[in-house]
């Protein structure tokens, strides 16, 4: 299957595009910028959703659902927000089609024009805070901690599967609080949830930090983020959590009566991750043989492939395979016994390898004689013969090992590709080479912009718990108190 498959070294970007399509994760649709998420890709996304949803509920959040459409005027209510989102929106102007007069097809009915245009949500702060106004009167109504799983649309001119699409799937948390401190705590807590999810489940090491003012979410006072490093040395923002201050409360007039009977504006956060995480997952772990999926998010943990020449062999092998399958299923693993006679074992090996199934068992006539099976692991491609009766006991530990190995490998790569530099020449070289570049910055948007123009590198974040260290801005030479993290980014 991996025949004619572009390698990462040949063309990383082409490698990614081919991988997504050939591993049956997603494909482009005929609708500009919109993707079709295919079953294998969706199954991974479902596993992500399920784990994230559990973590949101563990931290006291409930799910709800708000309208897909946002009245145009809502977008204008928060000044920064409209600047950030109105420009690339899908606009609904009519609510009816009619038969074309020439009898062929349908046309928009000009009489069915909406009084006010509706925007397909690019994000839901405005529509949600319009509801919160009705829900919040007193401090007793606070906090409100909701999350929504939804599709959103941002009209993008250049799209790439999972990484940047006009429509994408995501979750957006929206919380309302009585105090500033509580809102900041919430935003920080959700950043921790995202970081834990990225590292523990996606096996992706991340840097937690805050965005500079110019990289903040439109309408936020502080944007917290997690940043990951892809194998081509470019950074990818894998989740953001925003402290929104009272901006949306003021825009939508959401006040509460405090315990002391005073009227106060409500404090807000929002936070989200999207199908973009699929792109991060693919690019962090996969290799020239195809997809690699961390066991904790894999739709199938073990594939079992029988090798046989006749019915008798097939039956004996099937019996053993099913025993192994059952033992593993009892331990909570998803096992596929691939007994299709339409494909040869070699084809199946290539298929499971390419699609990233973490472990694969092969059982042939010789194995039956010796009481062994061949056990292959996807991350290292190593194979070993293990006793047939023990394989179901070996696999859980092996899956843990694979999960850990993927994280360690990615962390080693990230650390090896993080460079501290202290002057402009080294900075340019380091950015050109790729990876995170840790450097002093004078704190001005002007310098940030000039660096971006000159090198295409942006400040990914000011890391949390950053070491304070006196230094000079790598670009302007002006004094600086701490290093920030630069990189070219997706």
């Amino acid at each position: 299957m991996a025949k004619d498959f572009t390698t990462r070294e040949q063309d990383y970007s082409k490698w990614y595009n081919e991988l997504v399509v050939r591993a049956d994760l997603a494909e482009s649709s005929d609708v500009r910028g919109c993707m079709v998420i295919k079953p294998h890709g969706y199954a991974i996304w479902e596993n992500m959703q399920s784990q994230l949803d559990k973590m949101f509920k563990q931290t006291g959040h409930s799910n709800a659902y708000f309208p897909l459409f946002i009245p145009k005027s809502y977008l204008s209510k928060e000044a920064d927000h409209v600047e950030g989102f109105a420009k690339e929106a899908a606009v609904v102007t009519h609510y009816r089609l009619k038969n074309d007069e020439d009898g062929k097809g349908v046309v928009v009915d000009p009489e069915a024009k909406l009084e006010e245009e509706l925007i397909v949500r690019p994000t839901s702060e405005t529509i949600i805070w319009n509801s919160y106004r009705k829900w919040i009167q007193s401090y007793r109504d606070l906090p409100i901690k909701l999350n929504q799983w939804a599709n959103v649309v941002r009209w993008e001119m250049r799209t790439r599967l999972f990484l940047r699409t006009a429509e994408f799937l995501w979750q957006e948390g929206h919380t309302a609080h009585a105090t500033k401190d509580e809102a900041i705590e919430e935003a920080e807590q959700m950043l921790e949830v995202y970081a834990k999810f990225a590292e523990k489940y996606m096996a992706i090491p991340v840097v937690k930090g805050i965005k500079t003012e110019s990289e903040r979410f439109a309408g936020a006072l502080e944007t917290y983020c997690i940043e990951a490093l892809m194998q081509d040395g470019k950074a990818l923002q894998a989740g953001t959590s925003h402290f929104l201050g009272q901006n949306f409360a003021k825009a939508f007039d959401v006040k509460y009566a405090s315990k002391e009977g005073k009227e106060e504006y409500v404090w807000a956060t929002s936070w989200g991750v999207s199908t973009r995480l699929m792109g991060a997952l693919i690019m962090t772990h996969s290799d020239d043989n195809g997809l690699v999926i961390p066991p904790k998010l894999a739709p199938i943990h073990v594939a079992i492939v029988p090798i046989y020449k006749n019915d008798e062999q097939f039956e004996a092998i099937s019996k053993k395979a099913k025993e192994i399958k059952e033992k593993l299923e009892d331990k909570g693993f998803i096992v596929r016994f691939d007994d299709r006679d339409t494909h040869k074992p070699g084809w199946k090996f290539a298929e499971y390898e390419f699609k990233g199934v973490p472990t694969r068992i092969a059982i042939g006539p010789k194995d039956m004689e010796k009481g062994t099976v061949e056990l292959a692991r996807r991350d290292t491609l190593e194979k070993q013969f293990v006793p047939m009766d023990e394989v179901a006991d070996i696999i859980p530990g092996l899956l843990d090992e694979i999960q850990e190995n993927l994280f360690d490998r990615a962390k080693k790569f990230r650390d090896e590709n993080t460079t501290e530099v202290d002057n402009w020449e080294d900075f340019k070289k380091a950015i050109k080479k790729g990876g995170f570049v840790s450097a002093h910055w004078d704190g001005t948007a002007e310098t940030e912009n000039k660096i971006k123009e000159s090198t295409k590198a942006t400040i990914r974040c000011i890391p949390l718990n950053n070491k304070k260290e006196d230094g000079k801005c790598v670009f302007s030479g002006n004094p600086s108190k701490e290093r920030v993290l630069f990189a070219k980014a997706y």
Copy 2:
């Protein structure tokens, strides 16, 4: 809480609308016809989703995701389909807003007009079959059995929360098969899945049947459905499964090479249930005291309310309550120990009653002395004192009993409100009284229409496995071979 709450007898429709809002299930948004599904309502929907999703996977389906937008021209490709769906669609015509020249707000940028308008999906047959064309070449690519959880939009002029909204949430299954028989089997299998879900989980007895030609889904050769009866005597269609023949394969040119090497058009089904089921659930079981939720779909199974006058009492009761909670949680139940000091016990009782929590435990100082608790069940409102140490063992059986009782009660109501009639006068009387009316029909759309015009009753379905019985059409007197089921419907 149930103060000032309209009773079913006073005004069934008002009762429903008030219930949905006051039980915090959903509310109207400012966007015409679009609802906000609030956390309590969404939690019930999530439980429905989770069970249905399991049943879809058990029957060999996978989830996927297709674009929200459908090019206008796709809708025209299947002739019946466009008639059914194009007329009430949300149409995206532009992809950008710009700042208004007067500096206030944003306006649609006339230069950002789409070449071809996009329709917000009212259902996804067209966009999915356009993909299937690329996915299917040979019989080896079949069957394809996909499901999608998604939002859809149908512009409705008169909307009601859950029952009829412009945007709603649903699942839509779309399958592709090599043979007609296999497609019919699939459509029938999914009807069985829906019926089982309705009866076993929602505790709603349903009649399985097929729709008459005039009530069929736009583009289907056969529409299977389940029909339920609400407490006001009106029927509600609770799920449909369509055998689509080769209509979409022909419209989108989807052919496969058979084992014998012949080119054949592919056979299709589609099937769906939506947030409309929430309306069915509410209207089937709830009463003048508020919502009643079957235990199998309840977000909380047990609420525990402490009654106390001082800290000492509170601590002793809390300790016991937490023990009970833990025992029940170990058995897999969701328990809420409501230790809020902001609300009085009476308020909490009313709250859990109104929101439909199946069982409620109260523990007061006297209970502590006697070693008892008060256990209340929501369906019958009965209360009993049971030993404190046994309540965690009693509740699982009680929840089963409640689930069964709700189904039996609804079935008794349905059966008592199903009338066989054999002449037009009785027919009109029976329809006026409400409920299902079983009568002979001559099989013509003309008669069906006249009956509808005269009585507002429609043929809900021709029941599956219907008894063959010679008779005369209740309207035309023409011969008939079986009875069909009429009712006024939601």
